[in-house]
Symmetry: none
DNA sequence: GTGTAATCGAGACGGTACGTCTCGTCTTCTG
DNA sequence: CAGAAGACGAGACGTACCGTCTCGATTACAC
């Protein structure tokens, strides 16, 4: 009945983990990345800022990347309610806007950039990032697309994985390269651009016009 | 019309820069990044491998990022001949394939990943990367798109910058996140997906079908 | 006449101290010092080896030195029976051989070396060592010498404290520096060398008087 | 002819070692041991006090013990002139007084105590200490004794190594245990006590023969 | 029996120092 | 005088113990 799993049946021995410190570490890491970029978020700085010893951090996280990843997961709520019964198009737009808001207005942005940077040289970070961050989000988007195909909204020959890349790749591109501002309009334009190519057309011009996306 | 700038007019005094060493440094850096990832390409390792003193490297490059950037520029030839008189669609496809080949089959891939990682914490690296790497490539693509608009191939209300992001963002996304293979087919699919949305349609289905891209 | 103080008059409440663990700690400490030198006998290692928590050790001993000292006292039996009515010479020889056997063939050797090492930087250890270990032994030796003087065996102008140092100093010297083997023969030679200088002679010796040394 | 080995023939390349820093490290280590005992002389404290980075210390010395040993050697001048043509007795007295002055009035005392403490758990320190500190001093004393035997001053059946222990062992004993003051008078008394037993006598003594001790 | 009080294991925690690593600067000597 | 060789200060790395501090479980006396 209870949706909360009974995980406290076997009470572990010894002094229990101090959850306040766990949060302090995650906060400190996020703050430092916000302030000075990820180069400023050294283990020693995190420990100092959090008022925690380095050993405590190493006890619970294997690397700086793991701290950042957990901070990222904590700070990004579980996907935000997708509207029930919405079309694929509408659902994708919600996801895109949520992503931009998350990385643009919360500590999750610097955290995510930090993680992707670390992932370039640390395969474990890359794997964790794909599994814990990217995977769920891509699966959610893929599910939306698959449902759209089934409902006849989208072309039946759709390459779902590629479509997800087309929708969100441009957002990550701007996030990491910074050559242009990462706005909600841009994210919506990316989704709409995708939709223009994959929407099933009996009645062609039902989709949004290219630059009208933000006006929707 | 010579595209090579006359840079040797004023012969500088003293011993001239040893170009052989310059190349050795760039080679060593590229090799190390290929072998052990960018974490292996420390300044000391580069100096040792190149048979050059650290000081010589610092003399000519301000940071490890600068070395990588120059190595990247050296290794990526000036875009390869674009077919004269080709359509915007064809030109973009050529660019996309060239990009995937470059980052997928040459030392430029690891170098580029390294640079983007460093750029997350070093604004100078980010700026240099945008100016020297991204800028020229985006300008080339933008020019192609603008020409396409002028020739009436593409919609007149096209947001050129966004379109460039839509064409190449997915490629960088896969390059950096590694969740799916970065193939030429995928790059072509990205371009085609873009084209489907921005091609001017008197005759609607002239563009390629979504999954037929690679067969073109 | 009972030498054991009545210490159990006021039975304390609560769970009493577990004497088996007390012994386990002392054994573990001694074993570790035997095996890996005193550097191996960390508090954590002792606790682990003894199957006891660190807190239990800190409850009963203030420092590692205190553990070692108690281990040393436990392992060195109460002086061994000195022969009744023996001469000062014979008694000293017995003490010397007992000392060498103790430090050479039992865990007391490493324990003692450990304690003296710690005593160099921890005054409390030094004090405890002098009071509990060195003091009783030196007093026993001094008493033997004083008795010898009174019986007319030894010179009346004997500096007892210095004589004790001359008899046992060389033994500690070899124990700690390890430049030569610490054998029973050597210890006996040290005692005999002392005796040759302090034994009362029928005809006063031509050599230098014992306490006149500094006036030379 | 020159007794100094030509060690600079092959000039090494690169920046030469900074001798000022070498001295600063040795001074800092000695100072710290004087002030706070050897426990205060951590590598980090030495580095900080000397205004030198830790890495520089580790570059030239393998361990804290090595630093202390070199400081000890630097601070104890090469034996001080022994009087030419002096008797064995006089020479030993000079050595003994020099030793007490060294360890009692200079930083060499704490340094030596530190080294002997470390030697208890680090075999390399013990070996270095025996070879570089104890060896030369014991050899000098042994040579004095051997010369005394040859000149007929001392008994021909003298066990030289044991005699050296008898002369200096008591000094180290008091240095390390600290149960009594380590004065020059005490050191002289130790030497004289030894001499009383090993000086050749016109009329053979009634006391026990030097090497017969263990047969008693 | 049922508190009540101490002991004990387990282990989290803030610290300090360790010895290593790489960075970027500097100093000297060699070609 | 350019450049290699490399010494150096700085500072983060990840580890090891220290000594203190919760916890919950256990044990024995006292009521």
């Amino acid at each position: 009945m209870g949706r909360v799993v009974q995980e406290e049946t076997t009470r572990r021995r010894g002094r229990p983990r101090d959850e306040a410190r766990r949060a302090a570490v995650l906060d400190a890491a996020a703050d430092l990345m916000l302030e000075g970029g990820l180069a400023a978020a050294t283990m020693e700085a995190i420990a100092g800022r959090a008022g925690v010893s380095k050993q405590t951090i190493y006890k619970w996280w294997p690397s700086r990347g793991a701290v950042a990843l957990e901070g990222l997961m904590v700070r990004s709520d579980p996907a935000g309610a997708l509207p029930e019964g919405a079309s694929a198009a509408e659902s994708l737009r919600v996801l895109a806007v949520a992503l931009v808001r998350l990385v643009g207005s919360t500590p999750a942005g610097p955290l995510l950039r930090s993680l992707i940077a670390d992932a370039q040289s640390q395969p474990e970070v890359a794997a964790a990032l794909r599994e814990q961050w990217l995977g769920p989000r891509r699966r959610a988007a893929a599910e939306i697309l698959r449902a759209g195909v089934e409902r006849g909204e989208l072309r039946p020959d759709l390459d779902v994985a590629a479509a997800v890349d087309h929708a969100f790749g441009p957002v990550y591109y701007r996030l990491l390269l910074g050559h242009e501002a990462l706005t909600e309009e841009f994210a919506l334009a990316s989704v709409d651009q995708l939709l223009r190519g994959i929407t099933r057309r009996e009645q062609p011009p039902g989709g949004p016009g290219y630059l009208d996306a933000s006006s929707t």
